[in-house]
Symmetry: C2
Subunit: 221 residues, 2 copies
């Protein structure tokens, strides 16, 4: 009797074990596929980007349709870039060598008006070239710091949205870069990639704090 029960028990345990194993494998496979599909954002955008109307991004609630002659309703690399910037809820840290693109400037001003904390680090020489939008950012009250050294170019072109979305590549924020050149940017939320750029930004932000360089200014440096 006792042996019969043990055998029954064994059968049940093996049966349950087999079912659990099959279900487990199925569940694990499903989970891995979900993880792969919904992994951190990774998007690559190439330029030049075709010119389209972007008014709907700046004024989404306007009641009348835009009547400009540009194509409407088409998604491009540039509109994707603007959308990623628009996704900011709390902060935008921008590190860019050359910034003369008026629509990108308009976007940054819009984010600033919405209460997003915007910080900009840029190059000392390029911030004063004709068409640079750095002055417009500063006049709007956005905090901009520039590379203090005269011997070095701050050649980065990256942005970090809300501390977790990285936008980086070869693209300077100029009309030539967006509309003419062969350029690339990558947008990712992969923590291993975002973290080093966040640290680099913080380091540059602190190293180029004007308060730390006041003595140089008074000495005529």
């Amino acid at each position: 009797m006792s042996q019969q029960i043990s055998f029954k028990e064994m059968l049940k345990v093996f049966g349950l074990g087999a079912v659990a194993l099959v279900l487990g494998v199925e569940w694990f496979d499903w989970l891995m596929r979900r993880l792969r599909v919904r992994g951190p954002l990774k998007e690559v955008l190439f330029f030049p980007s075709t010119q389209t109307c972007l008014e709907h991004l700046f004024t989404p609630n306007r009641s009348f349709p835009c009547k400009c002659p540009l194509p409407h309703g088409k998604e491009t690399s540039f509109s994707r870039l603007l959308r990623h910037l628009l996704s900011a809820h709390a902060s935008l840290d921008l590190c860019v060598f050359s910034f003369s693109h008026m629509e990108l400037c308009r976007m940054i001003l819009l984010l600033h008006e919405r209460g997003i904390t915007v910080r900009v680090v840029t190059d000392r020489d390029y911030m004063t070239i004709t068409g640079s939008q750095i002055g417009n950012l500063r006049r709007a009250g956005i905090c901009v710091r520039h590379e203090m050294s005269t011997a070095v170019h701050m050649h980065h072109k990256f942005a970090i949205v809300d501390g977790k979305k990285l936008i980086t590549g070869s693209l300077n924020w100029t009309v030539t870069a967006v509309q003419s050149n062969k350029e690339n940017i990558m947008v990712t939320e992969e923590p291993e990639l975002v973290r080093p750029y966040r640290l680099e930004f913080q380091q540059l932000w602190e190293a180029n704090d004007p308060a730390k360089h006041t003595h140089r200014v008074t000495n005529g440096w």
Copy 2:
């Protein structure tokens, strides 16, 4: 008796279930950590890079120690970049705006000598500036194509090693970029990121095939 057995069975099943659950959670946690640790390569390098002796990378089998005055045995962002290039077994596709760094040129020539298939796409204007290494690559038999349009800059700065490792960022292949500027590069084997750059390279390679533009040359374009 039958009720007593059912209760025993239930206890055993619950007990085994609990053990299986605990072991399963432990195993899943271990697996996820392993997957995270051994995920595709992701590395970020920042510049400027300190100058060190790199002779061991070019001539690893030399019997005598290098006696140059530069620091030895120190890993830097630049030595990491060279190591990633050196990891090529079959191919290197390089898309770079400005290429005047002699050590990077030496590395490309070394790979070419080793039988690695090297293809280079570069900018039309910048390939002829003083110090450009493009001529040296061509003289060594490496196939270089340049952006054909006069109105456009080929401003990319990326390389693909063996079709699966992407090196991309703000860094041009110049001494100023490596030793002075604030620059970044990202090295990744994440297929979702590598694939678009591979396609972009192929597209640029084909679009700038001189055979397709011969009529322009004969017409004096």
